[in-house]
């Protein structure tokens, strides 16, 4: 059974991204939305934690990246960009969705 985790707060504001990545199991996906997309920027402590964890798939919501001026060139390795349709597909592909609010 796999879970799609969504995180919506910046890792520089709250610990939810870090807690989420630490709790996620093999085969799970973590999707950063809203201010959490700051966690996808290469060179930050948050991105380092994402890059370390090879058991889970990491995604960031494209429209929220664009709204904050974060192009794909700025993203950490292994971060996949999806749009809202991709968000829906991730929710379909995983058995449950857990929102880290």
């Amino acid at each position: 059974m796999s879970i799609l985790h969504t995180v919506n707060k910046s890792p520089f504001e709250k610990q939810s991204l870090s807690s989420c990545v630490a709790h996620a199991s093999h085969g799970d996906a973590v999707l950063m939305i809203e201010d959490a997309v700051y966690g996808a920027v290469s060179g930050t402590a948050a991105a380092a934690q994402l890059e370390e964890n090879k058991n889970i798939s990491i995604y960031a919501l494209g429209p929220d990246l664009n709204a904050r001026g974060l192009g794909e060139a700025k993203l950490a390795e292994g971060v996949n960009v999806v749009d809202y349709n991709g968000f829906v597909e991730l929710a379909v592909e995983h058995d449950k969705t857990q929102s880290w609010l």
């Binding site: 969504t6 919506n8 939305i33 809203e34 201010d35 429209p63 929220d64 809202y84 349709n85 968000f87 829906v88 929710a91 379909v92 449950k96 969705t97 929102s99 609010l101």
Partner: protein, 130 residues
């Protein structure tokens, strides 16, 4: 696939009411069903038709009302959360002795059981909030 959507944050606060709208719209456009959208906590504030944002700005309540009309969505506002925040339909306003109601088109007021039921009936329950 059947989706249930929970909105826990009000409009124009952070982004949850917008993200929930965009997600729900994509779910419907991809041909999935939405069993129910449940507005809880400050999320109930999306359901007032008295919202008047500047003309060049997105109208979050109207976006939801139009989506509900287009896809015949069931959009439920939690009654206890709504009463605290002054969101009333005609019946509730009368029952409370108030001089008017403000519920927006497409929304209805009901209890928390509707959220539980949405959780049971939906294949996926996705929560948006603060």
């Amino acid at each position: 696939m059947k989706f249930g959507i929970v909105v826990n944050e009000g409009p124009y606060t952070h982004q949850a009411a917008d993200t929930a709208y965009q997600f729900t719209k994509s779910v419907l456009e991809k041909g999935h069903d939405v069993y129910r959208v449940f507005f809880y906590h400050d999320g109930v504030n999306v359901g007032t038709r008295m919202t008047v944002p500047p003309q060049d700005e997105r109208h979050i309540q109207r976006n939801w009302s139009e989506l509900a009309e287009k896809y015949d969505l069931d959009m439920v506002v939690c009654i206890a959360a709504a009463q605290r925040r002054g969101i009333m339909d005609e019946n509730e306003a009368k029952r409370q002795g108030l001089d008017g109601d403000n519920i927006a088109p497409g929304f209805r007021i009901s209890g928390l059981g509707q959220l539980i039921e949405a959780g049971i009936q939906s294949d996926r329950l996705v929560t948006f909030g603060d």
